[in-house]
Structures are given as structure tokens and as C-alpha cells.
């Protein structure tokens, strides 16, 4: 046993230093050198202040904004310091109540909308920080946003279409719209 202890101990310490210090620190150095923007969180700054990350969704409830997906983080929605899904099962009455509540809220906010509600607008995302919604979910909200901003529908439609991110290689992932990017673009239009 003692004869085994020395190699075990020495090997463990050195391999720990290599894989647990040298490797992550080297990766950090290279990442900061090659891709500093991504490595530091793809942050969006305005007037020298961080206003969010391209990759992390924010909570939107105002009528003049597109809304993201329901978020199950606590205590507040889109709490990026504590990512989480709802973990509700499909047959749990609490889940069906949550969906029903989301549905009623959406229908009330979109009285002119006759289409069925896209599923991603009434179900919580896995991370609680989903930055995107489906194209259908963006289209569903256009009437409301156009009315709130007194904006021409055609102009808004074009803006949404310009923000559609397609599939990678036309195959991987889903067509989607980044909610924060779209809303910032909307505010940018109004400001001009």
C-alpha cells in the first residue's frame, strides 16, 4: 500500500496542477486574446453602462415591447444569477394551471389576435434565461407592439423579419428572434 501511495499522491498533485490550473488558465489567456467579447459574456453596453448580454434574456412586460418566454427563475423572472426551469411535469395540475394563466394573460393583452397561441409563449424555458422566441411568437405580438408604438405594421414586420436568426447550416437549431436585440432596435427606431 505504501509503495502505491507515493505514485498516487505525486501523480494526483501534478495532474491536478496541469488539468485544474494550467489548462483552465491557458484557455482563459487564449480566449481573452482571441475572442475577448464572447469570453466576457457578449455584453451589450450603452453610454458606458452594461445593459445586458446578447445571450441572456430579460424580463419584458410593457405593451411597447416584445415579450420573451415565461421564466421560472426565482424570486424574479430572468434572474440570471440563479438559472432554473420549472421542472413541472406534463400531467401536473400546477403545470396546466400555469399554462392556462399564461394563455389568459396573452389573450387579454392581444384582443385583436385570432391565431392560436404559439406554445413557446406559454411554457417556461429550461434555463429561465432563454434569450429567444420562435418566429410565430414574435408575429403573434406584432399587432400589440405596433398599436402601442403607433407604428406602421409593414415597418414593424420588416424589423422583425430582419431579426430572424435562421437554422445553422439550414439544419441545426430553430428559426428564432432574439427578444432583447429586437426591443433595443425598436427603441433605437423611436429615438431617431
Amino acid at each position: 500500500m505504501l509503495k502505491t501511495l507515493r505514485p498516487a499522491l505525486v501523480l494526483f498533485v501534478i495532474l491536478s496542477a496541469i488539468t485544474g490550473l494550467a489548462y483552465p488558465l491557458l484557455t482563459t489567456g487564449l480566449a481573452q486574446l482571441l475572442f475577448p467579447y464572447q469570453a466576457n459574456g457578449s455584453l451589450i453596453e450603452k453610454n458606458g453602462q452594461i445593459i445586458g448580454s446578447q445571450l441572456i434574456g430579460q424580463n419584458f412586460t410593457g405593451t411597447q415591447y416584445f415579450w420573451g418566454r415565461p421564466s421560472a427563475t426565482s424570486p424574479q423572472a430572468y434572474h440570471a444569477g440563479s438559472s432554473s426551469g420549472s421542472n413541472l411535469g406534463p400531467t401536473n395540475p400546477a403545470q396546466l394551471d400555469a399554462v392556462k394563466g399564461n394563455l389568459e394573460r396573452l389573450r387579454k393583452a392581444h384582443p385583436t389576435q385570432t391565431a392560436t397561441v404559439p406554445v413557446d409563449l406559454v411554457t417556461a424555458s429550461a434555463s429561465g434565461l432563454d434569450p429567444d422566441i420562435s418566429v410565430a411568437a414574435a408575429y403573434y405580438q406584432m399587432d400589440r407592439v405596433a398599436a402601442a408604438r403607433q407604428m406602421q405594421m409593414a415597418r414593424l414586420h420588416k424589423l422583425v423579419d430582419d431579426h430572424i436568426i435562421g437554422e445553422t447550416f439550414g439544419l441545426s437549431g430553430e428559426p428564432r428572434v432574439n427578444v432583447l436585440a429586437l426591443n433595443l432596435a425598436l427603441d433605437g427606431l423611436t429615438a431617431r
Partner: protein, 602 residues
């Protein structure tokens, strides 16, 4: 299954095989002690490592010494992780000033990470300092994977050698697999991940000033900082608002790369690979999927190369692929079909060019149904356990598939090394059953399979079902176990069954609604993880030692060929039969009942 889903699966398999083939040639060279090619500049480092540690690299070990070295090495790993978590409050690289982790959670996490399970009872971003993530968790991501690889290489040597007393040198196997295979692959992958948006820094958490103010309710706290309880027994809630969003930071990409390549699966953040900072794009997602299967697939081909008959490796790989593809088809169809109760309310779950549709609860928009389902099957077929969706919110059949894949013993690709050694044990069982049918002494790759090997085979095949079923039964019988359930009814039973299935088979994913960070679950799942790992490894090393000592029999007309379609079918049949016999009753009580309830509208 839809055409895009089939194309996505086809693309994945094509790239996987194209990468696994050359990698298998490289791994074979490295593990047979040959020149590691472009990485030979690391050779002086390797040599000095042996010199300082007093290791004689050319001195092979018998199976007992190999097992002792392995256990001791892993024990040291457990102590180190436990210590780092308990002391992180006073150690550097802790910008958020996170306090020491509780003893029971530290113990659970230590066992979890040395066993390549990477079950997580904690939420990373609010629990672990950067030092613990790097020097504790990342290290074991490497070393537990290298341990698994060492065991399978030792077992392959058992088949390849004859009349030999030794099966290799554990120190050399672990060092070479870490230095020449895991480390370079991880570095490259980590940088590609960063390019895609995975973060990699040592900054404190950043604060963003959000576009809108968020209104919310939170529990009112008393003077001591604990929640105030109202007359109705519930916490008193107060209205709050904030315009700040805390953005977590950290060395994520470096951990993410080895988390996938080492089939570990322990996420930097609570949401694991569903978190946009861990898995930001469909491309990063595809690369994560490939990274999970890459080494397990390559090791099948390494097996063929090392035993001197490549067809043997392809046969094992074919059996894995067939089971895998079937699982993907079932999973994707179940999730695409969605939840009938939602359609009845007027929710649109139909897939179209404008939306993924299907069961989107607990899924991310960028991945939709197709990518999520593929990832879910990959991560549970392999013993990775990273998640891209909340498995607790899958449809009943969508949850049954990952559960059953784990219950097969993590042999459909499985973990690095552990998938193949598990599958080779099933291959031994398959030739044994075939031998019984024709009344001939079974043999595999020219090695006679006798009583000793079959005893060890029986232990390894029975240990995980016993752990899963007994511990599940205990948990559902005790209040401490039932207290953790989040979803009522059959689904609650599925949560507990999934937890012990995942722990004992060293997967690590969860039906995460289960409140598992309690002393009861921390200890019970640690038991499952520890014995599920090492009660497999030790008997398998015993098999390796016993096989190495045997002489090789010549192939005759009576030998069962183990490289053709007949054997592939026999092997799949054996795996499915053992899995079904062990688990059908338990599955009937969980996902099957829930599925019937869902379709009948209750």
C-alpha cells in the same frame, strides 16, 4: 420522425464516424505506448512525471495491483474535492465570496465527481467558487474519464494478451490518456466553444442595468434574515422591483469541453447545457453532442484494433448505433407530439417553419424539439448526464427513453471506457447464452469463458439493478424520501426512480424537480454512485486478469463468429432482455402509468 430530424441525426452520425475512425488509430498508438505524433513535445513532461512519482513505466501490474492503484488514486480525488468545497471560503479565486459547502453536499459531490457521474445536488453559480470549479471539478472531469479509459484498455489487453500475468500499468494508462488525448482535445474544443459565446474569464459576476424594471414578490425577512411566516403558515411576501440583472461569470468553456469529452456532464451553472453561457448556439450544441460520443465510439474501434480484428470493434459499435437510433426516433416523436391537454386549451403545438411546436416546457427556443431530443438521447445513452432541457418536464414517453437507456447499464456508447467495458461484459454474457443453446463451452475472441468469468460477469450485471431498485424502494417508503418529490402522482415516483437510475449507472442527469440536496438524498445517491462505479470496475479488472492468463484457442468451425450481424442481434437481445427483466415493473408504475393518464385526459 420528421425529415429535418432525420437529416440532423444523419449529419450527427456522419461527422461522428468521420472523427472517431482517425481518433481510434491515435488512441491505439498512445495506449500501446507508442510515439504520440504531433504531441511528442509533451514526452519530456511525461517522463519527468514518472521520475518524480517513482513510477517505472515499463513495469506492468497484475489485476490486483492495478485495482489497488486505481482505488487509491480515486480516493485521493474524493478527499481533494471534499476539502476544496469545505475550505473554499478561505481559498483564493472566489470573487463572489461563496461560503463553504455543507458537509453532506460536499460528500455527495466528491463521490459524484470521482465516479464520473457528476450528479449535482447544488446549483453551480450560487455554490462553487472558481477555484473549486477548476481545481476540484475540472480535475476530476479529466481523471475520472481517464480512469474509465484505463479500465477498458486493461480489459482489452486481457483479450489481446495470452499466458500473461499482467494487464498494464495504471499510472501510465491514466497519465497518457490525460496528457495526450483528453487535454489537447479539450483545449481545442474549449476555444471553439468560446468563439461561439461560451464565457471564459475569472471576473466577478457583472451587473447589467436592464431595459425594463422587473416587478416581483419575495419573502419578507425577519431581523435574523430568515423568512417571516404569516398566520396562514406561508411565508409573508412583499412586493419588490429591480432594474439590475446579475450576470454570472467564470471559467466555463474549459470545464464545458472536458465535461462533454469525458462524458461527465456536471454543469458550471444550474441549468447545465441549457444555460446560454454554457451552450449558446445550435453549433455549440452539435459540437457538445459530438464530444459526448466521440471517445466512446472511438474506443469501440480501438478494441477492434488492439485485439487484431477490426470487425470485432465495428460489431460492438453497430449494436450501440442500432439501439441509439431507435431511441432517437421514439424520443423525438414523443416530444414532437406534445401534450394533448395543451392543444385542448388552444395552444399551438404544431411544428412549422415558424416554430418548433411540441412539448416546449423546459426547452430552449434555439434548440427546439429536434436538437433537444437528440441531445437528450445522447446524454443518457452515454453516461454524460449534461442536460439541454429539463428532463422532469419531458412527456412520459420522452422521459421513459432516457430512463431506460440508463437502465440498460450505460452501454449504448456509455461513459469514456465504462460504456465499452459494460458492453464487453454483455458480450461475454451473450456468448455464454449462445454456448448454453448449442451445448458448447463459450469462448470470446479465442478466450474460453469459464465459471470465474461468469461469476464476475454476474456481479457486474446485477450490481446496478439491485442498487436502483432497492434504494428506490427505500426512498418511496420513507418520509425523507417522499419529501423530495415535486410532481404529484406517477410522475413523482418517476422522479425518484430516475434519481437512483442516474446515480447507480453514473449518468448524473436528473428529473430535477426532486429536492435532492438533503442529507437523505445526498447520502443515498452517493451510495448508489460509489458502488455502481467501483463494484463494476473491480470485477471487470478481475476478468481482465483472468483472461490475460488464458491461452488463445484457435478458431474452428464450431466457434461462434462475434463480428457478424448474427452476433450484433444476439448482443442487442441480451442487453434489452436483461434491462427489460430488471426494470419493466418499475417503469410500469412510473412513466407508463403517466402516459396512459395523459392520453386518456386525466
Amino acid at each position: 420522425m420528421s425529415t429535418p430530424a432525420l437529416l440532423q441525426l444523419g449529419l450527427f452520425l456522419l461527422v461522428l464516424l468521420a472523427l472517431a475512425w482517425p481518433l481510434s488509430s491515435y488512441i491505439t498508438r498512445v495506449m500501446q505506448g507508442e510515439n504520440p505524433g504531433v504531441l511528442r513535445f509533451l514526452a519530456p513532461l511525461e517522463r519527468s512525471l514518472y521520475r518524480i512519482a517513482g513510477i517505472r513505466p515499463d513495469e506492468d501490474m497484475g489485476w490486483r495491483s492495478y485495482a489497488v492503484a486505481l482505488l487509491l488514486f480515486n480516493l485521493l480525488g474524493a478527499l481533494a474535492i471534499y476539502g476544496l468545497q469545505r475550505l473554499q471560503g478561505i481559498l483564493p479565486l472566489n470573487p463572489q465570496a461563496l461560503a463553504a459547502v455543507t458537509p453532506d453536499s460536499s460528500f455527495n459531490t466528491a463521490i459524484s465527481f470521482i465516479t464520473n457521474t457528476n450528479w449535482q445536488g447544488y446549483a453551480g453559480e450560487t455554490t462553487m467558487s472558481y477555484l473549486t470549479q477548476m481545481l476540484g471539478l475540472t480535475v476530476q472531469n479529466f481523471l475520472s474519464a481517464a480512469t474509465g479509459a484505463a479500465v477498458v484498455i486493461a480489459l482489452i489487453r486481457g483479450f489481446a494478451r495470452h499466458n500473461a500475468a499482467r494487464i498494464g500499468n495504471f499510472w501510465v494508462d491514466v497519465s497518457r490518456f490525460t496528457l495526450y488525448i483528453l487535454l489537447p482535445l479539450s483545449l481545442v474544443l474549449a476555444l471553439v466553444f468560446t468563439q461561439q459565446g461560451v464565457i471564459q474569464n475569472l471576473l466577478p459576476y457583472q451587473t447589467a442595468h436592464t431595459v425594463e424594471v422587473t416587478q416581483f414578490q419575495q419573502p419578507k425577512l425577519d431581523a435574523k434574515g430568515s423568512p417571516l411566516i404569516g398566520k396562514d403558515g406561508k411565508p409573508v411576501m412583499v412586493d419588490s422591483q429591480t432594474r439590475q440583472q446579475t450576470l454570472p461569470m467564470g471559467p466555463v468553456a474549459s470545464q464545458e469541453a472536458i465535461k462533454m469529452l469525458g462524458t461527465n456532464g456536471g454543469g458550471f451553472f444550474n441549468a447545465n447545457s441549457a444555460h446560454p453561457f454554457e451552450n449558446p448556439t445550435p453549433l455549440s450544441n452539435l459540437l457538445q453532442e459530438l464530444a459526448i460520443f466521440l471517445i466512446p465510439a472511438a474506443l469501440c474501434l480501438v478494441f477492434g484494433r488492439m485485439v487484431g480484428d477490426r470487425r470485432q470493434g465495428w460489431a460492438i459499435l453497430a449494436a450501440m448505433l442500432l439501439m441509439f437510433v431507435t431511441a432517437v426516433v421514439v424520443e423525438t416523436s414523443a416530444e414532437q407530439a406534445g401534450v394533448p391537454q395543451l392543444s385542448a386549451m388552444g395552444v399551438d403545438q404544431q411544428a412549422s417553419s415558424m416554430q418548433a411546436g411540441g412539448n416546449m416546457e423546459g426547452k430552449e427556443s434555439r434548440f427546439g424539439i429536434i436538437d433537444t431530443s437528440l441531445f437528450t438521447v445522447i446524454t443518457t445513452a452515454a453516461s454524460c448526464g449534461g442536460v439541454v432541457a429539463m428532463h422532469d418536464s419531458l412527456t412520459p414517453v420522452g422521459g421513459l427513453v432516457p430512463t431506460f437507456l440508463m437502465q440498460l447499464g450505460e452501454v449504448v456508447f456509455g461513459g469514456v471506457g465504462s460504456g465499452l467495458y459494460g458492453m464487453l461484459v454483455f458480450a461475454i454474457l451473450a456468448v455464454f447464452i449462445a454456448g448454453l443453446m448449442v451445448g458448447r463451452t463459450p469462448e470470446y475472441l479465442g478466450k474460453k469463458i469459464e465459471t470465474y468469468e461468469m461469476k464476475m460477469t454476474a456481479i457486474t450485471i446485477l450490481v446496478t439493478p439491485i442498487l436502483v431498485l432497492v434504494l428506490t424502494a427505500i426512498a418511496v417508503s420513507l418520509d425523507a424520501g417522499k419529501a423530495g418529490i415535486a410532481n404529484p402522482g406517477a410522475h413523482g415516483f418517476s422522479e425518484i426512480l430516475y434519481a437512483f437510475t442516474s446515480a447507480a449507472n453514473n449518468n448524473g442527469s436528473a428529473f430535477a424537480g426532486l429536492s435532492a440536496n438533503t442529507p437523505f438524498y445526498n447520502i443515498m445517491t452517493a451510495i448508489a454512485m460509489f458502488f455502481g462505479r467501483f463494484l463494476m470496475i473491480v470485477p471487470i479488472l478481475a476478468i481482465a486478469g483472468s483472461l490475460a492468463a488464458k491461452k488463445r484457442l484457435a478458431v474452428t468451425s464450431g466457434t461462434l463468429p462475434t463480428h457478424g450481424p448474427l452476433f450484433v442481434v444476439l448482443l442487442i437481445g441480451t442487453v434489452l432482455l436483461v434491462g427489460a427483466l430488471n426494470y419493466v415493473p418499475a417503469l410500469a408504475l412510473g412513466p407508463v402509468v403517466e402516459h396512459l393518464q395523459m392520453v386518456s385526459g386525466h
